[in-house]
């Protein structure tokens, strides 16, 4: 039950709280640090954050369930986010998503059985002139083709 972030995360968190006139305002940045460390925010981590920022646990839960980039469950080591909003759809996003589904053997929201890759579809990534586009762990790739996607996945699978 007892949860404590690593010393490095703790130090980061202390620094993050400082500029906000109210501690509770640091909730999003603090959750971000915890998720970066563990890949998700566990119920124990939720309780820890609530105590740390002096807020009700329900406020942490409310925020966790509102923002799509925050996670309450573990995900794959790498996350591929494919944009499926209009400019990307016009440029063939659905084909890219279909190809990834086939290649990974999981659909959007799923994680490969080896725990390496989570596939997600997202709304506009603000990169529409590079459509169709996606992000791999936050790094942008634009004008993607099936060949590029195959190479990307190959690289991720080869990487230990």
């Amino acid at each position: 039950m007892s949860y404590t972030p690593s010393a490095a995360a703790l130090k980061k968190i202390q620094g993050l709280i400082v500029p906000y006139p109210e501690r509770s305002a640091a909730l999003l940045p603090v959750l971000r640090v915890l998720q970066e460390e563990s890949g998700f925010v566990s119920p124990e981590a939720e309780a820890w954050v609530a105590a740390k920022l002096g807020i009700q646990p329900i406020r942490v839960r409310e925020v966790l369930t509102f923002y799509t980039m925050l996670r309450r469950k573990p995900a794959g080591k790498t996350t591929i986010r494919v944009c499926r909003n209009l400019s990307c759809t016009l440029a063939g996003a659905e084909d890219i998503i279909g190809f990834l589904r086939e290649k990974l053997g999981v659909g959007p929201g799923g994680t490969t059985p080896d725990g390496r890759i989570t596939l997600e579809t997202v709304e506009c990534l603000g990169n529409c002139d590079q459509a169709p586009c996606l992000q791999v762990d936050g790094i942008d790739y634009g004008r993607v083709t099936k060949d590029m996607v195959a190479a990307l996945v190959g690289e991720l699978e080869a990487h230990e």
């Binding site: 999003l28 925020v63 923002y67 980039m69 209009l86 016009l90 529409c128 002139d129 590079q130 992000q135």
Partner: protein, 415 residues
């Protein structure tokens, strides 16, 4: 001074650095403002330039700043809106990456003019990687004495905090953004009170879009007349028009406000690819009702687009080619708004999800004869009846699409 100096996006990739920015005259406007101008004169100059917000709603920036109470013991805040969630929009990203010091200088000027000591830059979570550039630029500005304590040897201090969102379109709405900075769900607040009076942490707050603020240094440095000489008399300056979809050269084009849509699409973006004709154009991000190919001569400014029953919004232009079934476009719209509604008020929560359900049904070939009228009825039920402008943002583009492409949709329904 070179033409480059007045452009929001310098041509040279490496020119984002402080040294390059200063070399092209950067931070001179902030220096002039802090060292030699009275705060109210700064606001008056920006008011005279009449620059309208580049985030979507188009409210005149100087006028908004003048609503913030002068003096008083309470702290005041600046929030920069770098949420850039409106589909089809990718201009603030470019400023953050290619000219971050123009934004920082704009922030210094408004903060000095309004009496602000703390600023938050709200950056969407999806931009966390590219925001590394902004953070580097902020560090450069601090080291150079442009931020922090005693800026330009005066007693003016300014601290800047970068605050990341975590995936929610609604957080681009200004009051939802405030909630998000305060560490809560991004649920919009009822207005009034307006943020200029009661905003972040219950204090007076200025909220502006990245592009709006990046224009401020040249307005203050060169004067309102210089700004007004570009663009239109009542709607001045240039805008970063983003073009995506069915064109040969998708990209950003910085052009005077009032440039005809045809010039942007055909001359700059190269027109549609070989063998494709334009079917429809979304002029200002997904929430802007679409125009037909016959409306290409519409000019890209607030009044002209209002006259065509749409809006310039974020100036993100999406060109739809004639090979795209209009139902595909409607599917994206319906899903997007249903997904992004914050759920706080019934007309938007129920309206968007119901429309999504109907459109999905039509897409599966199970459309019913009354479906299109039902969509229009639901859209009308949202329009003007919601807590925040997202209700309209969802209803109006759906309404325009269904009205303008009724025949094609009727065929899809009866398939």
């Amino acid at each position: 001074m070179s033409e480059d100096a007045v452009r929001l996006l310098p041509a040279d990739e490496s020119s984002w650095r402080l040294e390059a920015y200063v070399r092209r005259g950067g931070y001179e406007a902030a220096r002039k403002a802090v060292a030699s101008m009275a705060p109210q004169d700064i606001i008056a100059e920006v008011r005279r330039a009449g620059i309208r917000g580049r985030g979507g709603a188009g409210f005149p920036a100087g006028l908004k700043w003048s609503f913030v109470p002068q003096g008083g013991p309470a702290p005041k805040y600046l929030c920069v809106n770098a949420d850039e969630g409106e589909p089809g929009t990718f201009k603030d990203r470019a400023i953050l990456v290619r000219n971050p010091h123009a934004l920082i200088e704009g922030m210094i000027i408004v903060a000095f003019g309004v009496g602000i000591r703390t600023a938050f830059v709200y950056v969407r979570g999806e931009y966390a990687r590219i925001a590394g550039r902004l953070e580097e630029a902020l560090a450069e500005a601090r080291a150079g004495g442009f931020l922090g304590r005693g800026i330009f040897g005066s007693d003016f201090d300014l601290e800047v905090v970068v605050h990341f969102g975590a995936g929610a379109y609604i957080c681009g709405e200004e009051t939802a953004l405030l909630e998000s900075v305060e560490g809560r769900r991004g649920q919009p607040r009822l207005k009034p009170p307006f943020p200029a009076v009661i905003g972040l942490f219950r204090s007076p707050t200025v909220i502006n879009n990245v592009e709006t603020l990046a224009n401020v240094p040249s307005i203050v440095g060169r004067g309102a007349d210089w700004f007004l000489a570009r663009g239109l008399a009542k709607d001045g300056g240039t805008r970063l028009f983003g073009v995506s979809g069915a064109v040969r050269r998708p990209g950003l084009y910085e052009l005077p406000v009032g440039t005809p849509l045809r010039t942007i699409i055909e001359t700059h973006a190269g027109g549609p690819p070989e063998g494709v004709a334009i079917k429809a154009i979304i002029p200002g991000g997904l929430s802007a009702p679409m125009l037909m190919a016959g409306e290409l001569d519409t000019c890209m400014d607030f009044d002209s687009l209002a006259g065509a029953c749409t809006m310039i919004g974020s100036a993100g232009i999406i060109v739809i080619g004639d090979r795209t079934p209009i139902l595909d476009v409607l599917k994206v719209m319906a899903r997007f708004y249903a997904h992004e509604s914050c759920g706080q008020c019934a007309p938007c929560r129920i309206g968007t999800s119901w429309i999504h359900k109907i459109v999905s049904r039509i897409a599966e070939g199970k459309g019913r004869p009354a479906d299109l009228d039902l969509i229009l009825e639901l859209a009308d039920g949202m329009k003007g009846r919601t807590l925040c402008p997202m209700g309209d943002a969802a209803a109006l583009p759906v309404r325009a699409l269904v009205t303008k492409f009724r025949d094609e949709l009727e065929r899809a329904v009866s398939r």
